[in-house]
């Protein structure tokens, strides 16, 4: 029973996440997803996501309070994602967080979504007692919205962006290639399913930004749009030659290319920075093959890997509450009420609009 009681609101993409923590203890992690509404469009539609957030927010907050067994009056603070993410979606959460904080007369912490993904790893629950996160650590965050490689020296004060995707996020690449192969949205689990029977070495797809000539400028950056085009080209050539497309092999080879780049660059960062720790986060970490390859190659490189439970890897409000709880514990005051949504918030801005 130590640490501040914080309710976190996360609406940066298609999940309405409400989390409640007491210090590092996770009390509730409720998630309402509008994923099904996006399925027929083959990707997240910002306006559809924003509408869904507005509908889901109040019931989600009520559900989280019930699950945590606390009342709004007991809260020490409210936390909300200020960015990065979809602007219109973020703004719904920002509006709600401000309304709630002013109504209750409680302090409000506006925080960074990406740093929240790292904070997910420090949360404990009855069935999860974790060793404290050790610094420094390299963090690889992979989802439908972002692909970022970070050097974390301290969660609340010192996070450096090493690299990020220059075009599509890894999760988006899975969605687009799934569509090419006639598979439904979201693409990650579908690619995984059909790749199970495929040969990951059947086709050598390109590894984006991995050539020696890319290393000076883009050593830690990612690019997946060329890979997607390469897969499309390969499939089209097979079709125009009248061949059956070996969907399993294409999916397995594509997945291997994505994973290879992600893991290679993450471990390169560990080696270059002399950091023997790698933290994985983001929804794409649900990909079993990614976890396998990361664990296997990290072990060979002498790097310890940490992976939060999957319910905390996808976007959620608990990580936002958890990050705010850490800020409070380290003595930081609340944000002013003047912040907005920042769709491109840099990772160095861990707390937005501090007083």
């Amino acid at each position: 029973m130590t640490g501040p009681l914080v309710l976190g609101i996360e609406t940066s993409c298609d999940e309405t996440g409400i989390g409640i923590v007491r210090g590092r203890q996770l009390l509730s992690n409720t998630i309402a997803s509008s994923m099904d509404e996006h399925a027929r469009y083959g990707g997240v539609v910002p306006e559809v996501a924003a509408r869904a957030h507005l509908e889901a927010l109040q019931p989600s907050i009520e559900r989280a309070l019930t699950e945590a067994g606390v009342t709004l009056d007991e809260l020490d603070a409210i936390a909300v994602t200020s960015g990065p993410g979809l602007a219109g979606a973020l703004m719904v959460g920002v509006g709600a967080a401000k309304g709630l904080a002013v109504s209750l007369g409680k302090p409000l912490y506006a925080v960074n979504h990406l740093v929240g993904h790292i904070a997910a790893d420090i949360l404990t629950s009855d069935d999860r007692a974790t060793a404290p996160l050790e610094y420094p650590t390299i963090a690889l965050l992979v989802s439908g919205g972002h692909t970022s490689l970070l050097h974390v020296r301290d969660l609340t004060t010192d996070v450096e962006l090493l690299g990020e995707t220059v075009d599509d996020a890894a999760g988006e690449a899975f969605d687009k290639v799934a569509r090419l192969l006639g598979l439904p949205y979201p693409g990650g689990p579908q690619i995984d399913r059909v790749a199970a029977d495929g040969d990951p070495k059947a086709i050598r797809f390109p590894r984006g930004l991995s050539k020696a000539s890319d290393m000076a400028k883009h050593r830690y950056d990612f690019s997946f749009s060329g890979l997607k085009t390469a897969v499309a080209r390969w499939v089209e050539r097979a079709q125009s030659n009248g061949e059956d497309v070996p969907v399993a092999d294409v999916a397995a080879s594509f997945r291997e290319a994505v994973i290879d780049v992600l893991v290679t660059k993450a471990l390169a960062a560990c080696a270059d920075r002399g950091v023997p720790r790698l933290l994985l986060g983001g929804g794409v970490i649900a990909n079993r093959r990614l976890r396998e390859v990361a664990l296997e190659r990290a072990a060979a490189a002498g790097v310890a890997v940490r992976i939060p439970p999957l319910s905390l890897c996808t976007d959620n409000g608990a990580m936002i509450a958890g990050l705010a709880a850490e800020l409070i514990a380290s003595g930081r005051g609340p944000s002013t009420l003047a912040f907005g949504a920042d769709s491109t918030l840099p990772v160095t801005e861990i707390q937005v609009s501090p007083a």
Binding site: E62, A87, G88, V92, A96, K98, G99, A232
Partner: protein, 195 residues
């Protein structure tokens, strides 16, 4: 006391007492920046003793409109008090001094306007909506005299809310008056990338 919040045009909040008198009011006509200003404006008028929150449900540009509704709902949730949704045009109609039918007109972007036709107030003191809110091309001929505005008064919105509460009437759904479907097209077959 009733707190009203509206972000369908600028950002405006107000508290009126049981007699309909304005206790506090704060607003900005800026049609952007709702997310940035909503907290400070609310903090200026928030006080103990608020019994209801009225939310202006639009019509208005979606992104801004939702911010006020989200803030109003959360404020009501925080205090454990009811949320009363009211179409924003009712506040404009209440303040408009017009004889006979008149059209409240606000900008709907994309060279369109949102139009609601009212005729006086009814026995409950609520503006009498005689034609549901609709979109028209900007420049379209309207049958009625028009009352176009880029601002509205949250205090007026609160008074409409008070009248609705007193009469036990529901003037709006829980969802915003979107008037448009989300702008999306279903994807066709993937485009060819090879020449």
């Amino acid at each position: 006391m009733i707190l009203a919040v509206d972000t369908s045009l600028g950002t405006t909040v107000a508290v009126v007492d049981a007699d309909g008198r304005t206790v506090a009011e704060a607003s900005t006509p800026d049609p952007l920046g709702h997310a940035e200003v909503i907290g400070d404006l609310l903090a200026q008028v928030a006080r103990p003793g608020i019994t209801h929150v009225v939310a202006g449900m639009g019509p208005g540009p979606f992104t801004g409109l939702r911010i006020g509704i989200a803030a109003a709902r959360a404020f009501a949730l925080g205090r454990g008090i009811p949320l009363i949704p009211i179409p924003s045009h009712f506040a404009i109609a209440l303040d408009a001094s017009a004889e006979g039918p008149f059209a409240v007109v606000t900008d709907a972007r994309r060279r369109e306007i949102a139009v609601s036709v009212f005729d006086g107030v009814d026995a409950d003191g609520i503006p009498n909506l005689i034609r549901p809110t609709r979109l028209e091309k900007r420049g379209a001929e309207l049958d009625e005299q028009t009352h176009e505005t880029t601002e509205l008064s949250a205090a007026a919105l609160a008074r409409v809310g008070a009248a609705a509460i007193a009469a036990g009437r529901v003037l709006a759904d829980a969802e915003p008056l979107y008037l448009r479907s989300p702008d999306v097209v279903q994807p066709g077959a993937p485009k060819r990338v090879s020449a």
